[in-house]
Each structure stands twice: as C-alpha cells, then as structure tokens.
C-alpha cells in the first residue's frame, strides 16, 4: 500500500466550527413555528399496578389544552428485538415513571399544569424490585403475555416466568476442566444500574402532515432503526416506510442511551393525532434518569479453574440481569454477554448462562460497553485474585491465556487477528509494573493494577451500512451516510477515508447528520461498529467515484486506463509526466471530446457494506454453530491509585489504556475516546449509583444526587496507547474502539485497592465509604 496521506493523521474535525461557535443545532434548537404543540406526560407513581380508570375531564377543560391522550388511543406495542413495550401504558404499569397519559397543549406550562389534573385509579400489585426475587416460584409475573411476544429468532423467552431470554453457551466440558485445575475459585460480583447522563436530554418532534407524511426530528443514534420501528408500530394507521422520514440533527451525547427507540415513539405516535401540527416531547433531567434505557444491574456468579502454571482450564459464568420492565433492547445486552463472558482468553471448557429477568424497575438497555463492563468487573477481579493465590504475576497469567487470531471462541467461530499480547506488554511498561510506589504522605498508600478487555459489536447479522458521495462544481464533496455523529468524530473519519482515495482535502468535504429521505441506510450507530461498517461503505463509494473518473478520462481522452491515478485533486498519468486534469474541470460538466460534445456528467459514488459472514442462528442449548459477532477489539489497561487509608478517598494518579484499533484513522479522535471513556468508567466504579426505594422510586434522578465527574475528578494522567494489528475486513484495517475505553475501569480500581490495602471489594460502586468499611471488617482500621 502507498503511504497514507490523510488516514492515520489527526485531521481537524469537520464539525468543529459549528460546535465552537454555537451554530450546531440540536433537536431542541430547531424552530417549528407558531402551530407547535407540546406534550407533557402523566406518569405512574406505582412500580406495578393495574390501571382501573383514567379521568381526563378536568385536564381537558384547561384553556389551551388540545387533547389528552391515553393508552386507548394507541393500542400499539413496539420494540427493537422483542415487542414488549407500549406507546402509553395499556392495562398495567410496570415501573415508577412509566408513561400513562399525555396532555397536549399550545404551551408547555399549560400542558404541565393540566397533566397534574388527570386522575388515574390504580390497583396496586406486588412489585418485583430485584432480579433474584423475580426468579422465585411465587414471584408475580410481569408479562403474562410473554410467550406471544414477537421477537428475533436468537431470543429464548421462558413463558410463565419472568425470564425474557436465556442465552446458554457451552464449549468443551467444564466438569472435566475443573478436575484438571490445580485451583478452582468461585465468587459473586454485583453491579448496580447506571445512567448514561448525556448532557442533552432526549427529545422528539413529530409532524403528520395533511398528506399523511410523518416527519420526526429526534435526538438519536439510530435514524433508520427509528424509521423502521415507527413504521412497523404505526402500520395499523396505514403508515408505511416511505411515509416516515426521520431527521437527526447533532446529538448532545448518546453513550447508547439514544440508540433504538425509547421515548421517541411518543413524538411519532402523538403527531398522528394532530394532522398538520408539530408535536414536541422533551424529556426533563429526571425523566432522562428514570424513563430512558438504563444500564442493567447484574449479579454474576463466577467460577474459574486454573493450572499451577497459570493456564485457565474452565470458566463457568452465571449472570442474573436486572433487565427492568421492558427488555426489547436490553435482552440483547444479556445475549451479547452470554456469548463472550470469558473475557479475551483462550478457554477450552466454558459454560455461560446469561439470564434476562424482568423487574419492576425502569427498562434496561444499551449503554457504552453493552454488558462487557459488567462481566469484566468479575472476570478481571477474579484473575488477579487467582494470581495472588497461586503466587503468580497477574500480567503473566493474562499473557499466558491471551486469545490469539484463529483461536476458537466460546461459540465455535474463530477469533480475529489481534494485538492483545502487545497491548499487555506495552501497558506493563508504561505503568511501571513491578515498581512499588510510595506516597510522601504517610496516610496515603499507592496501589497498581491491571486488567484486559474485549468487546464485539452486538448487532443483527444483517446490520449493513451504505454511503453516497457526490462531487460539486469545485470538486468539493458531499458525503451522505446515516452513521451518526454523537461526538466520537464519525463525520471526520468518514471525510478522511474519502479524502484518502479521492485526494480532495478534508477541508473541502461536507458530511452532515442524517435525514432518512436523503442519506442512505445505516442500521444504527452503536456497538463501536460504524468506523468499520460505515467506513467500509464510504471507502467503496469513494472507489466507485474514482473508477467513474478514471473510466471517463480513459474513454474521452484515450489515455491508457492503467496509467491513470488521482493526486492533488487531479487525474494524472504515469506514462505522461507533467500532464494533469483537475477534477473541478469535469466532475460536474463532463469532459469535452474532440468533436465538441460532452462526455460524462456529475460524478456520484455509492458504497454498500454487509458483513456477509455472520449468522445469529445456533443451537439454543450450546450457542454452537453460528457466527454472531463480526470481530472483537481487544486491549489492556493499568492504573496507579492513591488511597487515603483513614478516609478511603481515592485519587487516580495514572491510567494507561492500550487498544488494538486495527488502524487509527484519526489518532486524536481515539485519544478522545480513551480519555473520555475511561473517566466515564471510573465514575461508575467510584461514585455513580442509581438508588431506588422500597417502592421502586428512583431516589437520585438529578446531577446533585447522582454525581457524574467534573473536571476536578479527572485522573492526573490518562495515557493512550494505540496498537495496530489490522482487521482484514476493516477500512484500512480499522476496527472500533468507542465503548472499550470504559470497560476495564471497575476491576482496575478493585485490583488497585487490593494491591494497596489487601482488601477485596466485589460489589460496585467502590466508594470511599466501602473501602473504609472493608478495612474495618478486616481489622485494618
């Protein structure tokens, strides 16, 4: 390959000027004119209840109220992977805060005031507030209709129980594996729920015009998936895909929370009741906490067998997920973990059970890491603990078991080429492994820790990407994709890929956020897969443009086809030095031939990428036989932690993360993912925590009581190491890295605490208070 000129370099972001001048528009910044209506929700105060009666009369009498909507107006269910969710509650509510009715008014304050006048009569049912209670024989059933729900073929709901899906993976023989082991170690790890906390809340505005066309503007990672779910859910109203248009302006942070369809269904469905008038639904911060997807809690029972030489002989991982009231998306998190809960290690004997369990808490769903952070807490804690018992170096154990390209995965497919061992070695050097550090403050101790990670995109086997590229008169480009800019810099990396092939500088390329009427299909911007998938589509579209250009020049100017190439925004020929034809001379007007006619015309490229080797169908009892994951991104991380032994207060002095990204399209953007993702991960272990009371009400739905990091909480130093073992089917070898950067944070803290203080904490979050309690329990304080 020739030397790359744009890919691999840190280009300036294409969205930079808009974002630093305030010109960038987010959904709440758009103007919809004087006809705009506002919806305000009536929410369930009960975690579990039957709806007996809804009296809307008082609310309807309030001047300015246009209509009060209830579940009767929308007898519709929806869902991404399983249709278990409703626009507005039907006969039953399943979590505190669930949408029961909506007041639509000409003014948001009137809507809010009138919503308080809607009278709902409930018959309370016993709530199930944790997943272990939900499994008890006498537990109330949350979804008696579970058996009849439509779902994807790779889910296995257990009718007449609260188990919405059970992923079982079996490889080898774990009993035999544990017999071969010199040491078998078991423990239970617990992880609570977490909130994404994008600074922009969710919002949706729907407009159903007089012709029956539905346009929905949303804060979303998933314009096409939303269009599909809206069209399917609203099909009883006679709406088809061609009638639905989803426009997604800039998004103020996603982290998985704005994937799929959650509250946006309200904007789409409500609009159908008010022809010609746009209807706006904006979440407030509290709703953002209790009525969007939450990261699911888990209780993970882990058993690992190991030989004295450090080889893992068997892994049994049993994970009980608190998936909440509706699992249409969250069940796929459970599924993903059920396939991969060994971590990035070669293990011959594996038994994983990952259970998706309904509870009367808010719906779980995708969150950066998609379940891998949760099981990584146990797995990476466990390996370090076993190393200690075997008096081995925790890094040596990881190197011994590190998975290599070609190794057989838990479900029988083969692992992609990867640089995990190199990542482990680089982190070990950078963190100064083996060198004890001492604080100058006698009350403070310093611990060091290590953890590996991996993650595959979790997506349907036919999740595809596509791209259009069109030239403008001055040979500038418009790239149209429906991969979403959620801050990660997708628009910039797509411009870089096109620039590399077409030699048009990034500064002359415009890539805008999606509109499903204009931009071609992308499944969703999730799973750290768009650099790879959408990048492949853009690369193909750029090559398509290039081939059209070279064909045209060859055909009209009779230059040898093989001699032609692009350089500096012009066509050049290897056999005709000094000759060049600038792109701007012909990419729109065409080339004038000897007879004065014009050949060619506007150059437009198209590219489609489908991972044609994947399949989600496998044996439900073992998961053998399919190829559910496209590839894994792997890596390693190390951390130096200072702890005040009197107060438990912790300060991260240094954290290092090495990820094998295949090829860094833009190294600065990758550093952005590492520094930001790692802080988000550290916050989940050090202080973030969703609290619910005995009635299922969330106690801390605001930034005062649910703390997310400020600048004061950032580690003293975060070091990024980029490893590049190319992904054979990636654009320039690239694979994703967006989610991975937060995955190892929790075991890094737990392992560093044990290194410094000799106490082990197995439940997240690991607050200063918990450290002190653990020290007291061990008699060390």
């Amino acid at each position: 390959m020739n030397e790359l000129k744009v890919v691999g370099h840190s280009s300036e972001r294409v969205d930079s000027l808009e974002k630093i001048t305030g010109a960038a528009n987010y959904v709440d910044d758009l103007n919809f004119g004087p006809e705009l209506l506002y919806a305000y929700l009536v929410e369930s105060p009960c975690a579990h209840a039957e709806i007996r009666k809804i009296n809307t009369a008082k609310a309807e009498r309030v001047p300015g109220v246009v209509k009060v909507l209830t579940g009767k107006d929308f007898p519709l269910s929806f869902g991404l992977y399983m249709q278990d969710r409703y626009v507005l509650a039907q006969d039953r509510v399943r979590f505190v805060g669930e949408q029961v009715a909506a007041v639509v008014a000409r003014d948001p304050k009137i809507a809010k005031r009138a919503a308080a006048l809607v009278e709902v009569t409930y018959k309370e049912l016993p709530p199930v507030l944790n997943q272990m209670d939900a499994l008890k024989k006498d537990a109330p059933l949350l979804h008696p209709g579970l058996k009849a729900y439509k779902h994807v073929p790779w889910f296995f709901p257990k009718g007449d129980t609260n188990i919405a899906h059970w992923r079982k993976t079996r490889k080898g023989d774990t009993e035999k594996g544990f017999k071969q082991a010199d040491f078998v170690f078991e423990d239970v790890y617990t992880v609570p729920r977490y909130a994404h906390c994008a600074i922009e809340v969710h919002g949706a505005v729907g407009l159903y015009d007089a012709s029956g066309r539905l346009t929905v503007w949303t804060a979303s990672q998933s314009p096409y998936t939303q269009r599909n779910v809206f069209a399917e859910a609203l099909s009883p109203l006679g709406i088809s895909h061609k009638d639905v248009r989803v426009i997604t302006p800039y998004v103020g942070g996603g982290f998985g929370g704005k994937a799929g369809v959650s509250m946006e269904i309200l904007g789409a469905a409500f609009a159908t009741k008010f022809k010609g008038k746009p209807v706006k639904v904006m979440w407030n911060r509290a709703q953002e906490f209790y009525n969007t997807y939450q990261r699911q809690g888990v209780e993970a029972h882990l058993k690992v067998g190991m030989k004295r030489d450090g080889r893992i002989t068997a892994v049994e991982h049993l994970l009980y997920w608190d998936a909440g009231a509706y699992v249409e998306y969250g069940a796929n998190v459970v599924n993903a973990v059920g396939l991969s809960a060994t971590g990035p290690y070669k293990v011959d004997n594996i038994k994983i059970d990952s259970l998706c369990i309904y509870t009367n808490l808010p719906p779980g769903g995708p969150y950066r890491g998609f379940g891998y952070s949760e099981f990584c807490f146990g797995m990476e804690s466990h390996l370090t603990r076993i190393a200690k018992k075997l008096r081995m170096d925790p890094i040596e154990i990881r190197l011994k078991n590190a998975i290599k390209g070609g190794d057989t995965l838990a479900y029988g497919a083969h692992m992609n080429p990867n640089g995990l061992s190199k990542a482990i070695e680089e982190v070990s050097k950078e963190i100064g492994w083996g060198k004890k550090e001492q604080s100058s403050d006698p009350d403070k101790v310093i611990g060091k820790s290590f953890a590996c990670f991996w993650k595959a995109p979790a997506m349907p086997p036919n999740a595809s990407s596509s791209a259009f590229i069109k030239f403008n008169e001055d040979a500038s480009l418009n790239i149209m994709v429906s991969g979403m800019e959620i801050g990660q810099g997708l628009l910039t990396s797509m411009a870089q890929i096109a620039s590399e092939i077409l030699t048009v500088p990034v500064s002359k390329i415009r890539v805008e956020t999606p509109d499903t009427d204009r931009n071609p299909y992308e499944w969703q911007t999730v799973g750290s897969h768009v650099t790879w998938g959408c990048g492949n589509a853009v690369k193909k579209a750029a090559i398509d443009c290039r081939e059209q250009i070279l064909d045209l020049v060859h055909r009209t100017l009779h230059l040898e086809r093989e001699s032609l190439y692009l350089e500096d925004e012009a066509v050049k020929s290897r056999t005709k030095p000094g000759w060049e034809l600038p792109l701007k001379n012909f990419v729109i007007p065409g080339i004038q031939a000897e007879d004065f006619t014009f050949k060619g015309g506007p150059i437009m490229g198209r590219g489609v990428f489908m991972p044609e080797f994947t399949s989600a169908i496998s044996d439900p009892e073992t998961s053998q036989g399919g190829h559910p994951n496209v590839h894994y991104t792997t890596g390693a991380s190390g951390l130096t932690l200072e702890i005040d032994r009197r107060t438990g207060r912790m300060k991260v002095l240094k954290v290092v993360l090495a990820a094998d990204v295949g090829k860094a399209i833009n190294p600065d953007l990758i550093r952005g993912q590492v520094v930001g993702g790692m802080l988000q991960g550290l916050a989940t272990v050090l202080y973030e925590d969703m609290r619910f009371d005995a009635k299922g009400r969330m106690l801390n739905p605001n930034f005062t009581d649910y703390k997310i990091p400020t600048v004061m909480d950032a580690p003293v130093e975060t070091k990024t190491i980029i490893i590049e073992v190319p992904q054979p089917d990636g654009p320039y070898g690239a694979r994703g890295v967006g989610e991975h950067t937060m995955i190892p944070a929790a075991p890094l803290i737990a392992n560093a605490i044990e290194d410094a203080l000799g106490v082990r904490i197995t439940s997240m979050p690991i607050t200063a208070e918990k450290v002190v309690a653990a020290l007291k329990k061990e008699g060390k304080l």
Partner: protein, 155 residues
C-alpha cells in the same frame, strides 16, 4: 401579567415581554432565538446554559428574565460574531469537544476567566469550569485547549 424588559444582547439593544416566572434561559431561546445556551438539567447543576451578564458567567436557568432589565448579556453567538477567538481556535486544535453540547457553556465560563486572568494556572482553569459538566471528553483536552500558549500566554 407580562412586563417589557430592555437590555443588551450581544451588543445590540433589545427588549422582550416576559412573565414574572419566565426563566432567562428559556426566554433567550424562545423569544430572541439565542440557542447556544442549552438546557441540560434546569436546576443549575450542569452549566450548559452559562451566559455572561455584565461580564460575569452565570447559569441562565437559575435567573428570572425580569432580573436582566438594563443588563448586558453575552452568549456564544456574541462571542462568535466577529473573529473566532483564540480560545475557540485552540478548542478545535486540541479536540476539546466531542458532541459539542457543553461547548457554549464551557466557552462562556472560560471567556470570563480569561477576561480577568489572561494567563491562568491549570488549577484556575479547572476551578472556572468545575461547574460545567461534560460527559464526552474527560476534560483533559479542554484544559489543554486553554493552557495552549496561543490562549494563555504564560509558559
């Protein structure tokens, strides 16, 4: 009962009719189309609504619109009206934003700081933005953006 208030927004005289309980953030956005201040929490926690009133960075979600009678208000629209400021250019160079939602508030808080302290220390920079939440960047690149010699001339 609405009241007409008069003030300067980004250097231009303006007025708007506001109810006594109208909050400044919503009034600026809905009545005057100044959309750079955003609503992230509506209770003063996140700082993304930060604007400057008479040279001081404040959270516009905690201020009633009627309070700004006779004041001078500056939003990011005003900062960006002329040349792009050195701080903004440095934000681009250092990849100091990702989704961009917190950027208007960050830039306003830092503009106040740089107006009073042209050569701040790293601690002072952190102090200035300690009330501005950013979920994407991890803050490091924001601090680097301000400490760039093109912005803070010292060192």
């Amino acid at each position: 009962m609405k009241k007409t208030i008069h003030f300067k927004l980004n250097g231009e005289k303006t007025s708007m009719d506001v109810a006594p309980n109208d909050v400044l953030l919503e009034a600026l956005r809905a009545n005057l189309g100044a959309k750079s201040p955003k609503c992230g929490c509506d209770r003063g926690d996140c700082g993304t609504c930060t604007v400057m009133i008479n040279g001081r960075a404040v959270r516009s979600c905690l201020i009633l619109a009627v309070e700004v009678e006779g004041c001078e208000i500056l939003t990011l629209e005003g900062v960006s009206k002329g040349r792009i400021a050195a701080l903004q250019r440095s934000f681009v160079k250092h990849n100091s934003f990702q989704c961009g939602f917190c950027a208007p508030g960050m830039i306003m808080s830092l503009t106040e700081l740089l107006n009073h302290k042209p050569t701040p220390t790293e601690e002072e920079v952190k102090e200035a933005i300690s009330g501005n939440l950013c979920r994407c960047t991890g803050y490091t690149q924001i601090v680097e953006g301000v400490m760039d010699p093109a912005v803070s001339k010292k060192r």
